[in-house]
């Protein structure tokens, strides 16, 4: 790009039709293959700037689609590479990254899939994208050490404090409820479950968490999600237990044991 010349002010020179700056026109043209090559482009060796820009534009979109394919591997397998990449290109153009951290790119992809008419024949596709986005968030969540066993034992010695106890949960822990068997489908696509055993139309709930460096998916019951969500809202142990008690399948002891054994309880407050 050439700098501003003498005479007209720089900002006036940079603002073209539609009131866009050079940078804005460049950004628009990068994502829209129909848009003309931004004017004022030159190349150092005299080759055609239009052709060079087209290569660059293609690389931008292809690399972002590639990043989506790595973050959503099972979503990709469910529809096949070709369909996924076509859908990915649409998403990249509609929702380009807002952050320079490519590792977290994909926010909003599940909602996009929900509203993408060609994907409607795979009703669980958006929830699978939701599940895989939770995996990415769990992977990048902050570290936190589990509460020491002595703290839990101290709480047990003061049973009258238990209802008001505040349990803080690990930053990686999140819940997903789906009308479809996304947890089983995910396992099947990772080779841990026979696909013929999975009924995709069975509703499933579960937790997504990170233990050490490994993201884990645990199918749980709806009450387990109610319990974790209530704690995350800042409710006490007693309130969270009541929020989950509507689910007949819910077993408070087992739920808490699972949280403890994966190191998901990071602090316990309210012991006198």
């Amino acid at each position: 790009m050439r700098g501003g010349g003498a005479g007209a002010g720089l900002s006036e020179r940079l603002r073209g039709a539609g009131g866009l700056t050079v940078e804005e026109r460049w950004a628009v043209a990068l994502l829209d293959p129909e848009a003309p090559t931004p004017p004022d482009l030159t190349s150092w060796n005299g080759s055609d700037p239009g052709q060079r820009f087209a290569v660059y534009r293609n690389n931008v979109v292809v690399s972002l689609v590639e990043s989506l394919a790595q973050t959503f591997p099972v979503t990709c397998e469910l529809v096949g590479e070709e369909f996924f990449r076509a859908m990915g290109r649409e998403f990249v153009r509609a929702r380009p990254p807002r952050s320079t951290l490519l590792a977290r790119y994909g926010e909003g992809f599940a909602e996009f899939v929900d509203g993408f008419p060609p994907a409607a024949s795979v009703p669980y596709l958006a929830d699978m994208a939701r599940l895989e986005m939770h995996c990415l968030a769990a992977l990048h969540a902050a570290d936190a050490d589990p509460a020491a066993p002595q703290v839990l034992e101290a709480a047990l010695r003061e049973p009258e404090c238990l209802p008001a106890l505040r349990l803080r949960l690990h930053p990686s822990l999140r819940c997903l409820r789906s009308e479809f068997a996304v947890f089983s489908l995910w396992d099947a696509h990772r080779g841990e479950l026979e696909i013929s055993q999975v009924n995709p139309l069975a509703a499933e709930c579960g937790w997504i968490l990170r233990s050490g460096l490994e993201v884990r998916l645990l199918p749980m019951c709806a009450g387990d999600c109610d319990f974790v969500e209530a704690l995350a809202r800042g409710n006490s142990f007693g309130e969270a237990a009541e929020a989950a008690a509507g689910d007949r399948e819910f077993d408070l002891g087992r739920c808490l044991a699972t949280l403890l054994r994966w190191g998901m309880v990071t602090s316990v407050n309210g012991i006198k």
Binding site: S211, A245, R254, L256, W262, G263
Partner: protein, 101 residues
């Protein structure tokens, strides 16, 4: 939907949970790397636990599937049974290796 949960029920569940979580059968072994071994050539792109590329020792830095200089923690004793299409032996290895062409 909410039902009253008695303090006694809370206490019982809490003590069951603490006991269950402490029992060896249920204890998660993931935090303790003692029962794991580093296995080269079995990690998918970006899923390695460490070491890939010259001079880098970064988790998630491998850029190809089954990269010979990227490793992943696997349960001890299983590394040499995990298929690795890039490995000259066809299986994961305990040392980095030159991928076959």
């Amino acid at each position: 939907m909410n039902r009253k949960v008695t303090p006694a029920a809370l206490a019982l569940a809490f003590s069951t949970a603490v006991t269950l979580a402490a029992s060896p059968a249920l204890a998660a072994g993931d935090k303790d790397k003692g029962d794991k071994e580093k296995c080269y050539g079995v990690a998918l792109a970006g899923k390695n636990d460490c070491k890939a590329g010259p001079g880098t020792t970064c988790s998630g830095s491998s850029n190809r599937d089954y990269q010979g200089n990227a490793w992943k923690y696997v349960p001890k004793g299983t590394c040499k049974e995990i298929p690795s299409p890039t490995s000259p032996t066809g299986k994961g290895q305990l040392q980095p290796f030159q991928e076959k062409g």
